[in-house]
Symmetry: C2
Subunit: 434 residues, 2 copies
C-alpha cells in the first residue's frame, strides 16, 4: 500500500508508531531527497533491520543509487523489553548532538539526512565500508588513523561546548537544551555508578570464577567511596556536551576513516566520561586479546599497537585540546586579560596544565568505572563475551577488574603509568587459573 | 484615575511599564486580596519608593490595616542607568527562588502575595520592624538569632536542591528552569570574578591610599589564577539552587528574627558562593568596625561577637547540612545501599566530612572574592563607605584586602584559622597609615 492509498483512519505520518518494513518503505518514498538518494522504485529497495545495540531499531535501506541508515527509538529498552520504558525523546537529543558534532568535527559523524521528532526517527548517510570498531579489535585489526580522528573528535566537541570556548549564556542554554535527556543519564547513573557495586537483579558476571571478585567489589568501601565521587561528578559537572556512550561499539572504522555514531546519551557532563570511555574500551580490548589468540603470541603486534594507541589517545587529545585553548579561547572562563604579558602567558599555561592533570584524573576514574560495569553489571562487551572458553574469559575479565580497581582507588599520574599497569596485569594469573 | 476610567488606549495591566505612584495605586486597588490586606480607601494608602539597591524599584505601601512591599524590576541597572540594560525576567527568577525558599525555609523569607510576570513585579509581605542587617552591623548591633537562622536558611535551601536530596531528573529540571537567568549570572562573572583584577572603567577604590594595592592586585598572577579557578566553578558547578547575592544588605533582622530577601541572582551554582557571601560580609563588618568607633574600644564586644558569629555560621551550617544528609538523603548521589553496615556507615560519614572540607575550601575562596569586589570593583559596601575619614576607611579596606588575598591563595583548614587571621590583621597597619 503506497502512501497515496493510505486510508484517512491511518495514523498521521508523524504520530509515533514502530516502523516495520512496509511502513518504512512508504515513509521514505514520501521524502523526495531520500528517495532520490536511494534511486529506483521504492518497491525495489532492500530494507534490513540490523540493530545490535541495546535500545533501538536500525534499518539499512539500499536502492539502485545508494544507501541510508534509519534509526528509530523504541519506547522501551530493547535489551530488556517493554517492562523497561524509555522516552522517545532520546531521538531528539541524538539529533541535536549529531548536529553539534557535525559542525565541530565534520566527517567524523554521519550526516543527518532527515529527522522526524514524532516518529523518533533519524535518517543518516550509510557509513560504508566501515565496521564497528569493537568487532575489528576482536579480530585483531589495527586502525592507524583512529588515534588522530578520535582525539580530534573529542578535543573539538568537548572544547567548543565548554566554558573555555562559549560565553556563559550560550553554555547555559546548551545545558538547558539537554536537561530533558535525564532518562538516558539515569541509565548511566544506575548501571555504571551504582548497580555493579551492590546486589542488583540485572547484574551478571562469568560464574563461578568471578563470584568471589563480584562479592569483594560489593564489600569494597574504598571502591564505593570512589565510585560515589565519580557519580557526583557525573551528576554535577556540566563541563561540556559529551557523547555519553563513547565505547568502541559506537565507533565505526576502516583503516583510513573513523565515524562516531549513536550519541543518544548526550548531555552536558564531565569531559573525562567520554575520554575515559574510549580508554576503558581499548584497555578491555587489550586484556581480552589473550582470549582471542589461536596460537601463542599471534596477537603480540596488535597488543603493542593497542597500548600505544591508549597512550596516544590521551596524548593527542590533550595536545589538541590545549592547542584549541591557546588559539580559540573565546569563552568566559580564564579570561586572557587576567594573564597579560610574558609572565601572564606562562602562568596561564601552568593553569592549563593543571586543568589537564585534573581532567586526566577524572578520565582514569571514569575509565575504571566503565570497565567494571561491563564485567559485573548488566551490559557486557563482545570483547569478552566472544571468548568461548568461559574460564579463559573469566581470566581476562579478572585482570580487567584488577586493573580497574587500581585505577579507581590509586593515583596514576600519567597515561604511561596506566599502560604499564595494564601490561603487568596482562601477565598476572588469578587464583582460580593457577 | 481609577482602573475603571482607564481609556482603551492605555497599556494592558500586564504589559510592562515602569510603575509610578498613581499607576501602582490603581494596580493594587484591582487586586482584592492585596486591597483587603492594606485596608481603607486606595486613595488613602501611603506609597513610598525606598529602593536603595542597585537594580530595582521598591515601594512600601501602607493602608489602615497593614502594609506590603512591592518590588518591580527595571529594564536596566538602576545603579548605572539605561546604558546598562538588564532583562526583566529576573523578577520571574526571583519569584521562583522565593517560592523554593519559602517551602524549604518557612519564615526566613518574605511571603509572596502576588506576582505579575509581565510587569516584572512581586508583591510581598512587609517585613517589620526589621532593618537591613548591614545597617545594624554598622551601628554595632548584635543579632543573637542570626547564626541559627542563616545556618538553617542555607543548610535547607542548599541541601534540598542538591543531588544529595533530589533525584537527578528533578535536579536537571531545576537547573534548566534557572538557566535563563544568565544575565544576572553575567553580572557576577564580570564584577566579582574578572573586573577587580584588571583595568576596568567601572572599578573604583579609595584613592590615593589604595592605588598601590589595586595596582598590585592587577599584577598578582597567584590571585588571577585563583580567581579564575573560582570563576570556572561559578560557571560550571550547579550544586544547588543558590541565592546568588547573600550579603548583609539582602538580610533583614531584628534581635529575634532574620528574613532573607532579594534572590534575583538565583541559579544552580556552587554552594560555597552563598556561604562565602555571608562570611565575607561579616568579615568586612568586622574590619570596618574600627572606622565606626567613636571612642577606642567602644565596639570591642560587638567585634568579639562578630568573630564568634563568623565561626558559628560555618559550624552551624555545617552541622545542619550534615544532619540533613544523615537523615534526609533521598537524592541520587551517595546511595545508602553502597555503604551498608557499621563499616559502610563509618565510611559514608568520612565521605561526608571530606565533602564538607571541600565545601569549606570553596567557601573561603568565594568569601575572598566577595571582599575584593567590594573594595576594588564597582559595587561598594556601606560598611566602608560610611566611614567618613577616607584615610581611615582605606586602612580598614587595606586590612580586608590583605585578609582576602591570603584567603584566596593560602590554605585555611578551619574557620578558626580564618577568624584568627582576621583578628591579627585587625592590628596590622598598612604603610600609608604608619
Amino acid at each position: 500500500m503506497s502512501s497515496q492509498q493510505r486510508p484517512l483512519a491511518d495514523p498521521r505520518p508523524d504520530e509515533y508508531r514502530i516502523l516495520h518494513e512496509a511502513d518504512l518503505r512508504d515513509y521514505l518514498a514520501g521524502l523526495p531527497a531520500i528517495a532520490a538518494r536511494l534511486g529506483g522504485e521504492p518497491a525495489s529497495w532492500s530494507i534490513i533491520e540490523v540493530g545490535d545495540g541495546n535500545l533501538n531499531l536500525v534499518f539499512i535501506v539500499r536502492g539502485t543509487a545508494g544507501g541510508i541508515a534509519v534509526k528509530q527509538a523504541l519506547p522501551y529498552v530493547r535489551l530488556v523489553g517493554e517492562s523497561w520504558p524509555l522516552p522517545l525523546s532520546r531521538s531528539h537529543y541524538e539529533y541535536l548532538a549529531l548536529t553539534h558534532q557535525a559542525r565541530l568535527a565534520p566527517g567524523l559523524v554521519p550526516a543527518v539526512l532527515h529527522h522526524n521528532e514524532g516518529l523518533a526517527l533519524v535518517v543518516m548517510e550509510l557509513i560504508e565500508p566501515h565496521v564497528i570498531m569493537r568487532r575489528g579489535l576482536i579480530a585483531g585489526a589495527l586502525y592507524p588513523n583512529f588515534v588522530g580522528d578520535i582525539a580530534t573528535f573529542m578535543a573539538r566537541t568537548l572544547f567548543f561546548s565548554s566554558d573555555l570556548a562559549l560565553p556563559a549564556a550560550q553554555k547555559k542554554e546548551g545545558i538547558a537544551a539537554f536537561a530533558g535527556n535525564h532518562a538516558l543519564c539515569k541509565i548511566s547513573e544506575d548501571l555504571i555508578f551504582t548497580d555493579p557495586y551492590r546486589e542488583a537483579e540485572q547484574n551478571r558476571w562469568t560464574q563461578p570464577w568471578l563470584d568471589a571478585t563480584a562479592a569483594a567489589f560489593r564489600e569494597d568501601l574504598d571502591l564505593h567511596a570512589a565510585i560515589s565521587r565519580l557519580k557526583l561528578k557525573f551528576l554535577n559537572a556540566p563541563e561540556a556536551l559529551i557523547h555519553g556512550d563513547l565505547h568502541t561499539g559506537s565507533i565505526m572504522v576502516t583503516e583510513d576513516s573513523t565515524v562516531v555514531i549513536d550519541p543518544e546519551f548526550a548531555f552536558y557532563g564531565p569531559m573525562g566520561f567520554d575520554i575515559g570511555a574510549v580508554i576503558a574500551n581499548l584497555l578491555m580490548a587489550y586484556l581480552a586479546s589473550a582470549g582471542h589468540e589461536r596460537s601463542p603470541g599471534e596477537r603480540r603486534l596488535f597488543e603493542v599497537w593497542l597500548l600505544e594507541t591508549i597512550e596516544n589517545v590521551w596524548t593527542e587529545f590533550s595536545h589538541e585540546f590545549l592547542e584549541l585553548w591557546r588559539t580559540e579561547s573565546h569563552g568566559d572562563a580564564y579570561p586572557l586579560t587576567l594573564f597579560p604579558g610574558t609572565a601572564g602567558a606562562a602562568r596561564l599555561e601552568a593553569e592549563r596544565q593543571a586543568y589537564m592533570a585534573r581532567l586526566f584524573g577524572d578520565t582514569v576514574g571514569f575509565a575504571a568505572a566503565k570497565i567494571i560495569r561491563r564485567i559485573l553489571g548488566l551490559a557486557h562487551n563482545a570483547d569478552f563475551e566472544l571468548i568461548e572458553d568461559a574460564k579463559q574469559r573469566a581470566v581476562c575479565e579478572a585482570r580487567s577488574l584488577r586493573l580497574a580497581r587500581a585505577m579507581m582507588v590509586e593515583t596514576f599520574p600519567t597515561i604511561g603509568a596506566v599502560t604499564k599497569a595494564a601490561r603487568e596485569i596482562r601477565g598476572w594469573q588469578p587464583d582460580f587459573a593457577k
